[in-house]
Symmetry: C2
């Protein structure tokens, strides 16, 4: 039942759906994927179920013990340089393009999502310091993060401040020498753990005298250990983990309640400029949301592999037109489930890797690419994490009664996946973002550019072109109703899902064209290529029809909004 | 955050969508519902989360301790006569019509599904003995079951025999005086517990010398305690619980692995005739599947109530066109989630209660009603339990980060609900049954009768009539392809779901008509009635469009089946 990093599909997408990268040839790609895949398969995957059963422990001294083996595995990943895989080589990063970081991050999360959250967050801090840090800060922090000697956390949420960060109450006072942080933060992933020498908390807080609301919030660097007189980071800062949550999933990852400044105030250093905390967060948000979408794809792949293996092994009832003793993969409904799991997962992978290349260009200052990135991010986060719910649940279903038994492991994927539509902005937030910021703000321009491109690429696919037309007219409906924000807020989720399925269909169609070309040259991977075509055809016939429902709902918006009086809900 | 039995809606449906019952007036209905609702709300609901956290314990002596309070609560239910609520008064049942049993069973399961599985299974045995038992058996067992002094279990599954019971290996040998049962059974709900004086296991086993396959299987009554010389049931039979499962949900209910006949062989008594075990099981199956669909509806209601309460309380971000401090129920996407949860739950409740009346007639020998019942059962089981996944997951979503924290309780509903599409025949089995037995066997007659009736009832609803037309043409497609079973097995799930949504829409439309009539008479429950109309309208605009997708997939069947070669999955 072992997880296997899906190198073949990653390679296919990188080589066929992305423009080549001038620093990457195919043999480098393969070597990197294979090396990372081995680590994921051999070091992380075997700890996945163990960590779910043996959760982190908060000790009396407020230190957290992670599940046995986690610390060693983290060292392996860190030693290989994988945390800084797409990070600047000037600060000891590996310096590979973002696409490789994305490709490899799938494997970590597919193998063990709870474990991999620690490096994911640390990568978030690498991004933050790269973008906002001073040269001095970069020199101090980036090599530590890239090597995994230090790790990082994001401290945003407070009890009263989830989606709405304007209400943050954590305070920062300047004592003439240092900022002193006081407050409580919740849902801090890997807020405390034993896998690194130091933990650097990025904390959103309100500086003394700062205005109310969003503009008063700044970002502070608050290390667990401060520099001592001997130059070593051994001086305990005034912060501690006061409890860890009992969660539905990702149980192996400690989710901490962090208390800052119970005594003399936790020492913090302002990152960037005062009052720009939320702005910085939004800069980093694209990457964070991209990563969550990627997690959805990764865990879907893991759930699919497990279900496929079981379906090939379990014998129960003789499938129609088949011999006695044929495993359940021969049953029509099991085929339906497995094919939908695969075609959706491959579509997500294509979307995420194609987007990673767009993000590379965006980071290099290509404004067109930035617009595309901004448009795709809510789809990546929202659509992929919704699909992850369906796919991991189908994984349970294929196992029958066994799926409900925790020892099997299928249920864990479903429980783990359940956080994805929630964190880094609930999918309602994604849908709002997609509707109001990404579609209306530019008057539908980005949406139209995608529709035009899809139309060009899919002119030989009548099902997709029909759906493109439907989406275009739905977009017109939305633009015509742009002033009725209440209406649009009731239908934005279905608009996002409809567009997501269309983007997935487009990329699967492109993949099919490439697979057909490759097939004509007597390739070695004939089964893979034929399976890719099956995935694309299945997507066409079985997944694309979902778009009609979502877009019909959008077009019913004006009547739906009339029903949404609170007292009748 | 307390569960409240939804008496108002039950009443509305019983009074307005079902033909009256000559032994039931509205005041009796209300009195019974209120009495049961109180017990559910006050005795069962408070134990629900506690049982999830404090699971049953298997002791060294093979006895199982249920969570603290379960045994007392069971006595309360039993004392009130609620286990035998719809059971024959000649054997100490309460003798109420099935509709009342169904209405009340919702409350038990909504309040505490894990707990209520014990009485559910006991009711299954009441059905079995009523249908198949000798007069002597009825006199012995029925009063014990009706009063909850004894409880019952169903022992079907073995490791190699889940869906396919033909492969059962448990053996029964006749020693000249008694049957001796030997074998291992798994997934035995409440196979061992401390809530009743005796546990009566109904065990499917193969009598010595019986033929291979289904025809060799008989049903045996295997009590935990046998009659002793003093006439008391204190003599331990040779059976024991050897382990209990660690499950994703319904954790408070012990799911036992049962070992029969490790020593001298467990003494069993054949129920009914030899070789008819599977046939009997199928007779009882309708009721069991109906009950599982009912559980899906009940837990959806519970999840909805919890989410609604949170949405009315949590303040986060200011909703569009609303004042600061408006709770999240003001947000468009929260409204979408809550309204879809309610309209779907109400549609399920209508389906289940309307069907319970059809089952009453069927049990009284009305062959038309029997055909209708047979047609509806896979929809009730399959469609309702799929919806329960969506609704309980949406319940988590509305809670945001809190939803993922186990203490909140929203996650438990989702975990508990996950068993429903699996047990009593996976939904693949329901879909197969719906396609092959319920649609094709009578050449689409039952399906057509429903479509005709819906057309009559909904002629003033253009959205529904459009969907009826679509379903009719889909039925034609299915009938035209009746010989291609492989094709039909790939699309039967979508056919079931499409038909299910249509049935739900039909009943909501009927409810709306009745609510409108009531509204014209200055009723006291104006908000309830207006909410019912909102539910129906929302269903029309937001739920009905799903049918198009499901039926489009069905019509793509001929092309989909071509993709289902095992090697490309």
């Amino acid at each position: 039942m072992a997880y296997k990093s899906p190198i073949e599909d990653t390679q296919f997408i990188l080589e066929n759906l992305l423009p080549p990268h001038n620093k990457l040839d195919n043999s480098t790609i393969y070597a990197v994927l294979e090396e990372a895949g081995k680590l994921a398969d051999n070091f992380l995957a075997p700890l996945n179920h163990f960590g779910d059963k043996n959760n982190p422990i908060l000790r009396q001294d407020h230190e957290v013990e992670t599940p046995k083996g986690f610390s060693n595995a983290f060292s392996e990943i860190a030693k290989g340089g994988w945390i800084g895989v797409a990070s600047d080589a000037n600060y000891e990063g590996m310096g590979l393009p973002l696409r490789m970081g994305a490709a490899i991050n799938e494997y970590w999360h597919g193998a063990n999502m709870s474990f991999s959250l620690c490096s994911l967050l640390t990568q978030g801090l690498i991004d933050a310091f790269t973008l906002i840090g001073t040269e001095e800060e970069k020199k101090l922090y980036l090599p530590k993060f890239n090597s995994g000697i230090w790790t990082g956390t994001m401290n945003l949420t407070e009890n009263q401040s989830g989606t709405d960060l304007a209400t943050i109450r954590t305070k920062a006072e300047y004592d003439g020498k240092n900022w002193r942080i006081r407050g409580q933060k919740i849902y801090i992933t890997y807020g405390e753990h034993d896998m690194s020498e130091n933990i650097i908390h990025l904390v959103l807080a309100r500086a003394e005298g700062a205005p109310e609301g969003i503009k008063g919030i700044s970002t502070f660097i608050v290390p667990k250990f401060l520099k001592n007189k001997d130059g070593k980071y051994t001086k305990r800062n005034d912060l501690k983990c006061v409890s860890i949550e009992h969660k539905m999933g990702i149980k192996a990852s400690p989710t901490a309640v962090m208390l800052y400044g119970e005594e003399e105030g936790a020492i913090g250093y302002m990152l960037g400029e005062e009052g720009r905390g939320i702005e910085y967060m939004f800069i980093m948000m694209n990457r964070a949301r991209f990563d969550v979408g990627l997690q959805g794809m990764a865990i879907s792949e893991a759930a699919r592999q497990k279900a496929l293996e079981y379906a090939n092994m379990r014998i129960q009832g003789t499938p129609i037109n088949r011999e006695k003793g044929t495993p359940i993969i021969g049953h029509g409904d099991i085929k339906r489930l497995l094919l939908s799991m695969r075609s959706l997962t491959e579509a997500m992978r294509a979307l995420i890797l194609v987007s990673s290349e767009i993000m590379e260009r965006s980071h290099n200052g290509d404004t067109n690419a930035s617009l595309q990135e901004a448009f795709l991010i809510p789809i990546i986060k929202g659509w992929s994490t919704e699909l992850a719910q369906e796919i991991t649940s189908n994984g349970v279903q294929i196992h029958g009664g066994m799926g409900f038994i925790e020892e099997t492991g299928a249920a864990q994927y479903m429980r783990d996946a359940r956080i994805l539509p929630i964190y880094e902005g609930t999918n309602a937030i994604q849908a709002n973002d997609f509707m109001f910021r990404k579609t209306l703000r530019d008057n539908g321009e980005a949406a139209k550019l995608f529709l035009t491109q899809m139309n060009l690429d899919c002119n030989d696919n009548p099902q997709i072109t029909k759906m493109i037309k439907l989406t275009s007219s739905t977009l017109d409906y939305i633009l015509n109703n742009r002033d009725d924000q209440e209406l649009l807020s009731c239908i934005c989720f279905d608009y996002l899902m409809g567009f997501g399925y269309l983007v997935g269909g487009w990329l699967m169609h492109k993949a099919k064209i490439k697979a057909n070309i490759k097939l004509s040259n007597n390739p070695k991977n004939e089964i893979f290529l034929k399976s890719k075509i099956v995935s694309a055809d299945f997507y066409n016939l079985h997944i694309l029809p979902r778009i009609s429902t979502h877009l019909e709902i959008v077009k019913n918006g004006a009547n739906i909004v009339k029903l949404t009086k609170d007292s009748y809900i």
